[in-house]
Symmetry: C2
Subunit: 682 residues, 2 copies
């Protein structure tokens, strides 16, 4: 009787996969955003640590490699993956240049390692291994067949010794020498290549670690003393004189609201008055007049040459100029005349203005991204970035990106970065969380956050844990702002100077990138247009301001100190090492940031209450902070005050006065001199 | 000055996507296994509830539909998705037939709903809406252009009324009538179709809800009284007489270990003795002799006709016969002779036996899935399933699937189910968690679990939460076993009868599918081969056994009761509604199972300690259990004892004696007659 009936063999079956001998499974790869739909982000020099579940049927040993390359290159580099527990493997590579990179994994069943492992067990059990040694010799001969001549000879020699070996114990010891050779010529004919290639966008370091200063150039007139009347309109030339002031505070990005010609139709007055008075300057976000649009400079600020000179001067002070890109037009914008098809018309023939019913914004007309010539519109808008890149700008703060199609940004950012991989796009979207994250996934380099309104201990810990300890950290780089020209929070209005300092310290130490809108911030400007409003009174959005930079109480010095601390401490230059620690006071937030090697550990405790002094016991995970011996005291060095304290054990006490210094920013010193260092005196 | 410089337009840019006007984003779809790589599982009649993040730029209203179809059909059916909060949408469809289904999503910007919403705001703000009404009329005319004649006329009529309308308030009210019509002819030209089609494998109901009984047919000889000597070899004919006994306990799957001819080479003796005595029967998993292999019946059990008759008789008792498929061979298997290339040879020319070094299993030879003729091997092994399906079997328990390639199973199960979508594959893999889950993802209908060894409250709650309240529940259907022929746990050995009852109740109420190996289980067989072993003494794996089914203390009656409770209570027929509840005693586990509509709610409290009586306070989430008014008393009806209790509020007391009934299995009765029902007496 035969079991292999022709009847059963004859039945037509579905097609088997191309290579059914690929026994290794690779799944659960991390990081991998939305099934590989989006790349992760890194800056130059950072590591990409990849984990995956890798296993095969049965009990054979496996080998696994992480493959990586620059997208433009064709050949993969390889990095060895190591098995952790529970079939989880980990490997890493470092990205050395800006641009797009790719990574994937490959794994294969490794008969040599399997044989080595099993032989050791057989020898230990004192079994006869004569046949097993011949199996090992076969494996070496197979490796020799894949190796170049010199190595093949070595392998064949070993195969002969193995087949003839009398003492398997000696063999086992000596075989270690041949492992590396066999591995180099492993049989990967049936290796499993992971089914997806995953992307990495590698940005310049400033994409991760940056301190932004926003100012309105038109308020910067360079005059010596504030006149009583209307200040003159600022110029780029005058702004040059402000550069040392900004640089001295330690910022590295100087961000300017739109610098383009401003429309006249439906111009807004001071404090957003719908009726402008003669001489009112309107919002610079009402872009475009007969003097030009998104590629022109507002004549009162100077010429394009003046702007390029200003960018160069800023660079000499270590400041990169960031421009605001707001894709909307005044009704006077040349686009309206030249491309009427890019805008919606109402049935009465008028152009459709911006609105959020029932509110109307008649000084602004939005682009119609659903128009027939959407391709032409996209091309033109992308050319705006290229234009300014050609003037020396590489950082852009994009206004309200969430009101333009997501597909548009995904294409635009990829397109611009294909030629200028060093370009940085900051997404100004204070909208719902899913669209904010989508904008980051599709390409924005940095993103505004809800930090501005997160003031309680629970909110801050929960939100920054979401940003830094979940998958979000792979694609979303927070840039946190205590204030903006649009947002003077009630917390700042009511909290006064202590609140300003607290929010500054939180922003600068919670996130690797932060920014302030100045001089309003450092001068402690806190009067709203009206009670319940987050708008500034006499907002620079609608009028020129003259700022007295020497006003008593300016925070310029503490800002400079904080930015110096950030530059001196690598732990503060990344978001990856952030951990929150328990305290027994709901007004005291405690967290640490550490480099992966724990060489730099910064511990922060902030009093969140702008009104009262608070004390708290902190509960510290000493081992995670690099304190190897919890029985030994360790030193904490307050980088704000210079004070040093000796602490001992996980529970430690702090007391913080909001009217003095409302926070400790400690650098942990792991190794202290102890009495044992003086042993030689004995 | 023109801003649209020809220079900028002239720069060659990357290609824009095909339709940049697709403004809707669809992401975060759930369920979606590994980026759509694997299908989810459902049984006939179940709902597929799908959620996704759906949003667009700006503030326009959206429409979203869930699309679904049988894989073989080309046209989609549609189900409306509803917005929840935070851009999350939800929809559902019901699967009505076995086989493969597909689903995906489509979303589009909905200008009509946007216009309706904004118009209401404008009217409320008493704005002039004359132009807005004309915009609405344009939208209706556009819908008319997409509609068939009769509906087009209706829409055009509405458009004319709207354009001429004087009182917008009335219009708003009346427009509700036209919404459905506009929606039916919505403009989907720029709709976003989700980028993946996701799969559903729909199985027969028994794939989810089943009670398995495993027995060795060779121990079933039909003789009236147990003889003192060696029992005669059982037969399928004799097994027929056992059917009423198994059916009376309420099982619906009768699972037989391998029924094929057994090899003679290296035959094992009783209690796994490496040297068999004459007359020893060996393990039925040593498949194949000169009498045939995987498609033959062991002659002592009867003929293939006897087997088919047995399957038919079982069906008359409501029992489906499940066969064991173990892809391994005795050295005497016809495959070894006919397909020597399907097996590995050692350098000494001998065939490679199974081993787990240093252990050797010389009565078994494994297939070499890496052989050159792997396609031929796969074809033949798949034909084994087809062969038995042709004999009337549709349920298979697959032995050690994790020692054969994953790609093999994925292909085989899809191949068999393409012709026989009703086939059920139970994965017998007690291996590492990742391979177990992979086997489920790639196609196994049900899976063995770690339940067998999970005995503490924490372990059980943690494990069943993982199985039923995470993504695992979409692809992994647990089938939980208190014992198997390979596993007599120490917990049963030491716990005795109380442990047997506890484990039965846990298995039958925690999981929709469970099984026992009998008669060893219901007869309370608990002697291991030796201390520290999980093997049965005198295991049926190696010898015939005669079981006294009338042995005092048999659990047959309580098993019958438990299976009746499972059949009467739909909540116990699914794993989706499982929730654990706090108790103040670590030996008392409390959980509930509920149907989605809360029409059937079963509350279980089990004493996990086989030795001592335990009392506990249970903390119940009354609203989740359908108790609408926590101020009113509710009734719990113990389905094991028939007792009824009136409870009041979330905290309730239980006391459970392992030597009596070690658990409550309550049905909750929500609505009780109260004094208010007697109002008419007043």
């Amino acid at each position: 009787m035969t079991t292999t009936g022709s009847k059963a063999r004859g039945r037509k079956r579905t097609k088997a996969p191309e290579d059914g001998r690929r026994r290794v499974v690779i799944e659960g790869v991390a990081p991998e955003i939305d099934g590989g739909r989006f790349p992760i982000k890194r800056v130059v020099g950072e590591a990409v640590v990849v984990e995956a579940d890798v296993f095969a049927d049965g009990h054979d040993a496996l080998s696994c490699r992480l493959l990586y390359r620059r997208e433009a290159e064709s050949g993969w580099s390889e990095s060895r993956m190591e098995a952790l527990v529970n079939d989880r493997w980990r490997g890493a590579f470092r990205v050395s240049e800006v641009g797009r990179w790719r990574y994937t994994l490959v794994g294969w069943v490794d008969p040599w390692t399997t044989w080595r492992r099993d032989l050791a067990k057989r020898v230990a059990a004192r079994q006869d291994v004569a046949v097993d040694l011949r199996i090992g010799a076969e494996l070496l001969r197979a490796a020799a067949a894949r190796a170049p001549e010199e190595e093949a000879e070595l392998l064949t020699g070993w195969a002969e010794r193995l087949a003839a070996e009398a003492d398997p114990g000696i063999t086992l010891l000596e075989l270690a020498a041949v492992d590396e050779l066999v591995e180099r010529h492993a049989d990967r004919a049936h290796a499993t290549l992971y089914e997806r290639e995953l992307g990495v966008v590698v940005d310049p370091e400033r994409a991760l670690f940056s301190a932004w200063y926003e100012m309105f150039p038109r308020s910067c007139d360079g005059a010596d003393a504030p006149p009583d009347g209307e200040p003159p309109h600022g110029t780029f030339r005058a702004c040059e004189e402000r550069l040392p002031y900004v640089a001295a505070m330690g910022f590295d990005v100087l961000y300017l609201p739109p610098i383009h010609p401003i429309g006249r139709t439906h111009r807004k007055g001071r404090n957003n008055d719908p009726r402008a008075e003669p001489g009112d300057v309107d919002s610079p976000w009402a872009i475009g007049s007969e003097e030009g649009g998104h590629k022109a400079v507002h004549p009162q600020l100077g010429t394009l040459d003046d702007f390029r000179r200003f960018v160069a001067r800023a660079g000499e002070h270590g400041l990169e100029v960031a421009l605001d890109v707001a894709f909307q037009c005044s009704p006077d914008h040349p686009y309206v005349r030249e491309h009427p098809d890019w805008f919606k018309r109402r049935p009465d023939g008028t152009i459709q203005y911006a609105e959020n019913p029932p509110k109307k914004y008649e000084d602004i007309v939005p682009f119609d991204f659903e128009c027939a010539d959407w391709r032409g519109l996209w091309q033109e808008l992308a050319s705006v970035f290229t234009f300014w890149i050609e003037q020396g700008v590489r950082i852009f703060r994009v206004d309200n990106p969430h009101t333009k199609p997501f597909a548009f940004w995904e294409w635009l950012i990829a397109d611009v970065k294909a030629a200028h991989p060093e370009a940085v796009f900051l997404s100004e979207a204070f909208t719902r969380p899913k669209p904010m994250y989508r904008l980051a996934k599709l390409g924005f380099t940095q993103s505004y956050t809800y930090f501005t309104w997160r003031t309680s201990k629970w909110e801050l810990a929960q939100y920054f844990t979401e940003l830094t300890a979940t998958e979000v950290r792979e694609f979303f780089r927070p840039n946190v702002w205590p204030n903006t020209p649009d947002i003077l929070t009630e917390h700042l209005q009511l909290g006064g100077r202590p609140a300003f300092v607290q929010r500054l310290l939180l922003a600068a130490t919670l996130a690797a990138s932060y920014g302030i809108y100045g001089p309003a911030f450092e001068l402690g400007e806190l009067v709203p247009r009206e009670r319940g409003s987050e708008e500034y009174l006499h907002s620079e959005k609608y009028q020129l301001r003259r700022w007295d930079l020497d006003r008593p109480g300016s925070l310029a010095e503490i800002i400079a100190l904080v930015n110096r601390i950030r530059r001196d401490n690598p732990a503060l230059q990344s978001n990856a090492g952030l951990r929150f620690h328990p305290t027994d006071n709901d007004q005291v937030l405690c967290y640490s940031k550490a480099t992966p090697d724990l060489a730099n550990v910064v511990l922060v405790a902030v009093n969140l209450d702008p009104h009262s002094t608070h004390a708290a016991w902190l509960e510290l995970p000493l081992a995670e902070l690099g304190i190897e011996d919890p029985a030994q005291p360790f030193q904490v060095h307050d980088l704000l005050t210079g004070a040093r304290y000796q602490w001992h054990g996980p529970r430690n006490f702090v007391q913080l006065d909001p009217h003095g210094v409302p926070a400790h920013v400690f650098r942990l010193r792991h190794r202290l001199r102890s009495e044992r260092d003086f042993d030689y005196f004995l």
